[in-house]
C-alpha cells in the first residue's frame, strides 16, 4: 500500500507556553499544577548474541555467517584490503579508480544486465572503496542467497577491464587533476568544491587518508598498467573477509561458499605495506580558505586527527564527548550557535573512528557576516568543554542517545551487517557489539573531560572555509595561521 502522507515534523522551536487551551472530555490540570516527572525506566534488556559460524578457507579468505531471522532477507559483504590506506602520494585515489572500473562491467554482465540480475533476487549489489578496505555489499530475498553470492563474486573476481574504457577514464582523470590545480591556483571555487576532502588533506598531509583527490603526482603515474597493477596486487582472498547475515542456515551457506568461486580465488603474496607518514599533531590552528567571491554564506569544516591506538575506554569517551558537544540535536553547539545566537541553521560534530587514525570534525554553514564569530565561538565552546566538566544530565542524555542509536543500527539487516563487518574485519573483541552499551555506560564525567582535553581540537585544528575570502580574511587571521597548499 502506498501511503499518501506529509510527514517529518520535528519540534525544534523553543518558547514558553502561557495560555493553555482546555478541551472538554480531556482532563486538564489547573494552571498552577506541578508537572509530574517522567516515569522510571524498566530494567535494561541485553543485546542477544547471534548464532555465528566462522571459518578460514584454504586460500585465506575468512568467512563469517550469522543467523538473523527477523525478516526473510539476506545481506552479504566482502571486504578486501584495497582501500585508501593502501595508497600513497603517487597513487592517490587509486582505490577509487579501480572501484570505478570494476563497476563498469564484469566478464558476464554489463551494468544494465547486472542490475537486472540483482533485481531478480529481490536485491542489489554495490561496490565501493573506503578508507581501510574496498567492499562489495549485496542483499536479496533469503531463498536467493546462493545467487547473491554468485553476483558478488562476478562483480569483484571477474571484472572486465576494457582497455578502451580504461584509456578514456585515465585521460579524463588527468584532465580533472589539471582542472582542479588551475581552479585552486586561480582561486575560483564553485559550489561543488569538496570542503570535506580539502579538510582531510589539511589534517592528514602525506598520510593516506589525505588522498581524496587525484593530484599532479598521481596523474603523472596514472596509466592503464598502474591501475591493473593495483588490482592484481591488492584484490586477494588472504586478508579479505566474507560476511553473510540473514535468514539462512549457516552450515548450509558455508557449504555453498566452499563450492563457489570464492573458494578457488587464488591466494597471492600480500603487497609490502607502504610507509605511513603520520599526520601532524602540532598545537596551532591552521586556516585554509577556498575563495568563492560574492558568496553570501560560508561552509566551514574544522577538524583534527586522533592518533592510532587509543584504548577502547578512550574511544567510548570520545563518542560520548562528541554527542555532548555537537553530535546530536540537543547538544552544546546546536543550542548555542543555532538556537541562542542564530549564527547558523545547522552545526554539528562527528567522530570517524578508522583503522590508521580517527578524525574529529565540526561542520557549520553560516552567513558571511557572522562566519568569523561562529568559528571563534565554536572554538571557545570546545575550550570551555575541555576546561569545565560536563553535567551529569548531559552525560546521561549522551549515553542514552548513543545506546539508542546503536540499537537502531542493529534493527535493519543492512546496518547490522555493517556493524558485524567492522567487528570481524578489525578483529574486535567478541563482546564488541553486545557490550557496546556497557562500555558507553561506563564512561564517567572525568573520562569525558580527559578525552575532550586530549583529543578535541582547540589549538590543533585545521579549518577549511569555503567563502568570500575578501570579506572573511581579517577575522580568519585572528583565528589561526592562514595557509595555502
Amino acid at each position: 500500500m502506498r501511503r499518501q502522507k506529509i510527514a517529518g515534523f520535528r519540534a525544534l522551536m523553543m518558547g514558553a507556553a502561557t495560555l493553555f487551551l482546555s478541551a472538554s472530555g480531556h482532563a486538564l490540570p489547573p494552571e498552577d499544577a506541578v508537572p509530574s516527572p517522567p516515569p522510571a525506566d524498566l530494567a535494561v534488556h541485553p543485546v542477544p548474541t547471534l548464532v555465528t559460524v566462522r571459518e578460514t578457507l584454504p586460500n585465506g579468505l575468512r568467512v563469517v555467517i550469522c543467523k538473523n531471522s527477523r525478516v526473510p532477507l539476506v545481506t552479504a559483504a566482502l571486504g578486501i584490503p584495497a582501500g585508501q590506506s593502501m595508497t600513497d602520494s603517487k597513487s592517490a585515489t587509486m582505490e577509487d579508480i579501480v572501484e570505478t572500473l570494476i563497476n563498469q562491467r564484469s566478464k558476464k554482465y554489463d551494468n544494465k544486465e547486472f542490475a537486472a540480475a540483482s533485481k531478480k533476487i529481490g536485491g542489489s549489489v554495490s561496490f565501493s572503496a573506503r578508507k581501510d578496505y574496498a567492499i562489495v555489499q549485496g542483499d536479496a530475498i533469503a531463498s536467493k542467497t546462493s545467487d547473491l553470492l554468485g553476483l558478488m563474486a562476478e562483480r569483484v573476481l571477474r571484472p572486465k577491464f576494457d582497455p578502451k574504457i580504461m584509456e578514456a577514464y585515465v585521460s579524463q582523470l588527468k584532465g580533472r587533476a589539471e582542472m582542479i590545480a588551475e581552479a585552486l591556483k586561480a582561486g575560483v571555487i564553485d559550489e561543488k568544491f569538496d570542503t570535506q576532502g580539502r579538510l582531510m588533506r589539511a589534517i592528514y598531509g602525506k598520510h593516506p587518508y589525505a588522498f581524496t583527490e587525484v593530484n599532479d603526482e598521481t596523474a603523472k603515474n596514472l596509466t592503464v598498467d598502474t591501475v591493473l597493477d593495483f588490482y592484481e596486487k591488492h584484490y586477494r582472498p588472504n586478508g579479505s573477509l566474507l560476511l553473510v547475515v540473514g535468514d539462512v542456515d549457516p552450515v548450509q551457506t558455508l557449504s555453498q561458499i566452499k563450492a563457489s568461486s570464492f573458494a578457488t580465488w587464488k591466494r597471492i603474496t600480500p603487497p609490502v605495506q607502504k610507509t605511513i607518514v603520520n599526520p601532524s599533531y602540532e598545537l596551532f590552528n591552521r586556516v585554509f580558505v577556498a575563495n568563492r567571491e560574492k558568496s553570501v554564506s560560508a561552509k566551514v569544516s574544522l577538524g583534527n586527527a586522533i592518533p592510532k591506538g587509543i584504548s577502547e575506554r578512550d574511544m567510548s569517551a570520545i563518542e560520548v564527548a562528541n554527542a555532548i558537544i555537537g553530535g546530536k540535536i540537543d547538544s552544546r553547539l546546536f543550542n548555542v550557535i543555532r538556537e541562542k545566537l542564530g549564527y547558523a541553521y545547522s552545526v554539528s560534530s562527528s567522530v570517524s573512528l578508522d583503522e590508521l587514525a580517527s578524525t574529529f570534525t565540526i561542520r557549520v554553514e553560516s552567513r558571511t557576516s557572522v562566519t568569523g564569530k561562529a568559528i571563534k565561538r565554536i572554538l571557545a565552546e570546545v575550550k570551555e568543554f575541555q576546561d569545565k566538566p560536563a553535567t551529569a544530565e548531559e552525560l546521561s542524555a549522551a549515553k542514552n542517545y548513543l545506546g539508542g542509536k546503536f540499537l537502531k543500527s542493529l534493527s535493519a539487516q543492512s546496518t547490522l551487517a555493517s556493524e558485524l563487518f567492522e567487528l570481524e574485519y578489525f578483529n574486535h573483541s567478541a563482546n564488541w557489539l553486545t557490550g557496546y552499551r556497557d562500555r558507553i555506560n561506563a564512561v564517567t564525567l572525568e573520562d569525558v573531560q580527559r578525552a575532550a582535553k586530549k583529543y578535541l581540537l582547540p589549538g590543533r585544528a585545521a579549518i577549511v572555509v569555503q567563502g568570500d575570502e575578501g570579506k572573511l580574511s581579517e577575522e580568519l587571521a585572528e583565528i589561526g595561521t592562514i595557509q595555502t597548499d
Partner: protein, 448 residues
Amino acid sequence: MRFLAFFAAAFALSVPMVSFAQKTPKFPVEKYTLENGLQVVLSQDKTLPIVGVVVAYHVGSRNEVKTRTGFAHLFEHLMFQGSANVPKAGHFKFIENAGGEFQGTTRSEITTYEDQVPAEKLPLALWLEADRMKSLAVNATNFKNQKDVVKEEKRLRLDNVAYALANAKLQSLSYTNFSNQHLPIGSMEDLDAVDLAYVQSFYKAYYKPNNAVLVVTGDFDIPVVKDLIIKHFGSIAKGEDPPKTDTTEPAQVKQRSATVTDPFATVPGIFMAWEAPGIKSPDMEPTELLMQMVFAQDAKRAAAEIGAGENWILSISAGLDAQTGPSRALLSLIHRPDVKRKTLVDEVFVQLDRVKEELPSKEEVENVKREFLAAKYRSDVEPLVQRALGLAEYSLQYGDPSEYYKSFERYAAVTPEQIQAVAKKYFKKESSSILYVRGKDQKEEDEE
C-alpha cells in the same frame, strides 16, 4: 528448500507455487480494547531490545470540512507543542535523550504519532503519548508559530517544487467528493483563516481514546506492558463517537482530463489516476503488483518499451493509494517535450492492454513479487516503528491488525491470472483521469 520447491511445482495446479517457495515475516499479534474504547495492539519481537510505539487517530485530511483544509496536519504539529506534564519541545528532547526517534504523520484517513526507543524506555514513550492524548496544551503564540511552520512546509515541499502542484490537481480531478479532493497540506487561505477555538473543537471531536489505536512492537513483557498501558491510558475519558464523514464517490463513467502549467517544470509531465481497489479488497495486492510490473522505473515493460532507445520517458513512477474509502492507482511520467502527449497516453494503454490480452509469465510475476516484497520487508517490517504503523493502519482501516502480516502472504500468493484480472477490471479508459503538466517554456501548440 529444494524439496519444497519441487513439491510445490508438482501441485501447482491446485496451490500457488509461491506460497511454498517464499517465506513471509510473522510475529504474534494480540488485540484488545480498554474500557474507554482505546484499541491496543501488541506484537512482540524479542530479537533486539527496542520497542516501537505508535498512536494512530482515525482522522485525516478526508475529515476536513470546506474552509478548513490542512487543519488535520496543522493539528499534528500542535501535538508537539506540549501537554500538562511535557513542556513545549519536550517530546523531542525526552525522546532524543532517551536514545529514541519520533515522527508525526498526517494521511488522508489517519494521523499517526510514532516513537522508537530502547526497550527500557517504554514507560517514557507511553507516558508521553498518553499525556498529549489527555491534556494537550496550545497557546496563541505557538499556534501562530506552527501555522507559520506549516505554511513554510507547504512553500518548500509543494509551492516551490516542480510537479508537486500536479499531485494536488490530479487529486481534485480524479475525485468528485470534496473530502477526497484535497491533499493533507491544504490551502494557505484555509490555514490563515483557522482560529484557536477550532483547535479545541477538533481535539474534542477526534483526539480521544475511542477514536485511536495504540500499537507496541518489539521487546517487552506482555503483563508489564499491559499494566503500563492501563496506568497511563486507562484513566483517559471516553469521548462521544466522532462525526461521520461521507467519502463515497460515484462510479466514474467517463475519462477526465485537464492541463496545468507548472512554473518550476522544465519538461512536461503526464499524471494519471484510475479508480482502484481499497485496503479491504482482495484485489489490492494484485493491483499493486500490476503497477509495479508494468510501470516501475526500471521494469521491462513501460519504461523500456515506450519510445524504446529514444528516451521518450525521462522518469516514471507508479503506486497504489489504497484507503478504506475510495482509492486510486497513480502513475506519473515526465517526458521529452518533443514527444506528443497523446502518443504517450496511448502507449500507456497499449501496455495495459498487453497485460489484458497476454497472460504475464510466471517467471515475470515471481521476479516482480520477489523485488516488491524484499523492498517491503526492508522498509515496513525491519524497523519496529514501521511495523507498528502497519499494524495501526490495519487495525483502524481494515479492522484487524493481524491482516497486516497476512497481507504479505497474499502478495506472495498473487498469480499471473489475478494480475490479468485486475488489469481488465480497473484499468479502463473511462475510469481514468489524466492531468497534463505543461513545462514553463512549453507552448500549447506543441502538445497535440
